[in-house]
Amino acid sequence: MSRPALLALGAGISALALPLALSDFWIFIAIEVLAFSLYAVSFNVLLGYGGMLSFGHAAFFGVGGYAAALLVKKAGLSAGLAFALLPIVAMAISAVVAAVVGFFSVRRSGIYFAMLTFAFQMLLYTVALKATGLTGGDDGMTGLKPPGMLAQPFVYYYFALAVVVAALYVLFRLVSSPFGYTLRALRSNARRVQYVGVDVRAHQLATFVITGAFAGLAGAVFALSSGNVFPGWLNWTASATPIVMAVLGGVHTFLGPALGAAVYVVLEVLISGRTEYWPLAMGVIILVLVLLMPNGLTGLLQRKTA
């Protein structure tokens, strides 16, 4: 058996056995890690593969979260049906929102693209904050829970694991496909790729929509675990989270951002449990990271094993 295969097998067994070893609290944290792994990887398909630095990715995570909350609380469906529809609905709504945001944003590149995504995110944040009748405004939407057995943390963990692994597999196929090759070429040299016959904007827009949809799925998975959604999920500060996770894990590998998400979430729990200065600790970590490990944790691991 090859080394990657062994690693994958090991990771698979650990992931399956994990809830047996953890308290309910840590199972919640494990679910958060899963959701944020998907979120960070979806963000990095945009950044690391597509060269598009979005300051608004949190908008889609948030939209996915609200889509889940609305479906569960306000759609008037039976709990089971609402839950069954949840992944599709969260992805579809996030994709539609991402299509609108992306349609305008991919017309510009670099910092202007970033600013457009930022602007749309603030717009959506304001909607979440002010459309009180729909979103509960500042209070958010609370009391969300999955139906029946799924309300038990360890059962929901397996649900989240299945959804996230399936989604990561789809994204992995995407970056390994001709579409993904073209996306990397586009990041590398957008002008050249036009002259081999690629419609750059269409390709960027499709990437934006797909990654937005998966961020939405991550938001939905997380919403039903945490039990609530708040406007803050869409605030611009929330968009820093996937950026930090991706850089922390390493933007040059597919799963690097997932590792970054795991480390980020666990560190946040450990540090914020002991001190209120979690942002300070995070700042120091980012400094060390960028100065000493420009390729993130996966870059460090690769150097050690090389």
Partner: protein, 250 residues
């Protein structure tokens, strides 16, 4: 040979503010030609190229390829129609391997850029290797394009362009930044490959040795207009050409 020229440009004009970069350029290129466009710096050669290939919008005028109008079409549409180009400043995909560089072009040409599920690693890899061999880069297909020597990147860019199976290839200063000996080798390679594949080529060039080595016809540009056109011998004999261009370098 069909009577229709492969490329016809009529009164192409482009102004930047107060500067008339192109003052109505006419050009007609027959199938199988290896046409050089020469002219002093600022003659408008690059603007002409960029206006023909969709990077800039012309203010007026008309460009036709194989009898169909392509004026102002965006680059990806031109590429799909069979017009390839290379750039003055070498333009490859730096952080992709040489092989992947060519694969990307082959995938786009085969309209596979939107395949979302199939694994791309081995798709068209064989054809990509052949193209790398053709331009003399068969040895290290896995090397990152950004780490190749300048001349090799130029070859790679040629392979990328050829992967799109263009019928017309536009090369903007294909020998820019090369040493004198390398220039002749490089343009000879383009010429050989173009002849083998039956491509028509239009290229801009500064080095007269390169131009006279391969061009079948020469167009001389000066101050955004065509000053003269003809076979190398005809162009060489024109006094006004010697005055504005050849005179400067001789």
């Amino acid at each position: 040979m069909s009577a229709e020229p492969i490329l016809r440009v009529e009164s192409l004009a482009k102004r930047f503010g107060g500067l008339q970069a192109l003052g109505g350029v006419d050009l007609s290129v027959e199938r199988g030609e290896f046409r050089a466009i020469i002219g002093p710096n600022g003659a408008g050669k690059s603007t002409f190229f960029n206006t023909m290939t969709g990077l800039l919008r012309p203010d007026s005028g008309r460009v036709s390829f194989e009898g169909r109008e392509i004026t102002g079409e965006p680059p990806h549409i031109l590429a799909r129609k069979g017009v390839g180009r290379t750039f003055q400043i070498t333009s490859v995909f730096h952080d992709l391997s040489a092989l992947e560089n060519v694969q990307v072009s082959l995938l786009a040409h085969a309209r596979r850029a939107w395949s979302l599920w199939q694994r791309a690693r081995t798709l068209y890899a064989e054809r990509a290797r052949e193209l790398l061999e053709l331009v003399g880069l068969g040895k290290n297909p896995g090397r990152l394009a950004g780490t190749l020597a300048h001349g090799d990147q130029k070859r790679l860019e040629l392979a990328i362009a050829l992967a799109g199976e263009p019928r017309l290839l536009l090369l903007d200063e294909p020998t820019a930044g090369m040493a004198a000996q390398e220039r002749i080798e490089s343009i000879t390679l383009v010429h050989r490959v173009a002849s083998e594949l039956g491509l028509s080529c239009v290229f801009t060039e500064h080095d007269m040795a390169v131009v006279f080595a391969v061009a079948t016809r020469i167009t001389v540009m000066h101050q955004g207009r065509v000053l003269a056109e003809g076979t190398p011998a005809e162009v060489r004999a024109r006094p006004e050409v010697q005055q504005v261009y050849l005179g400067e370098t001789a």
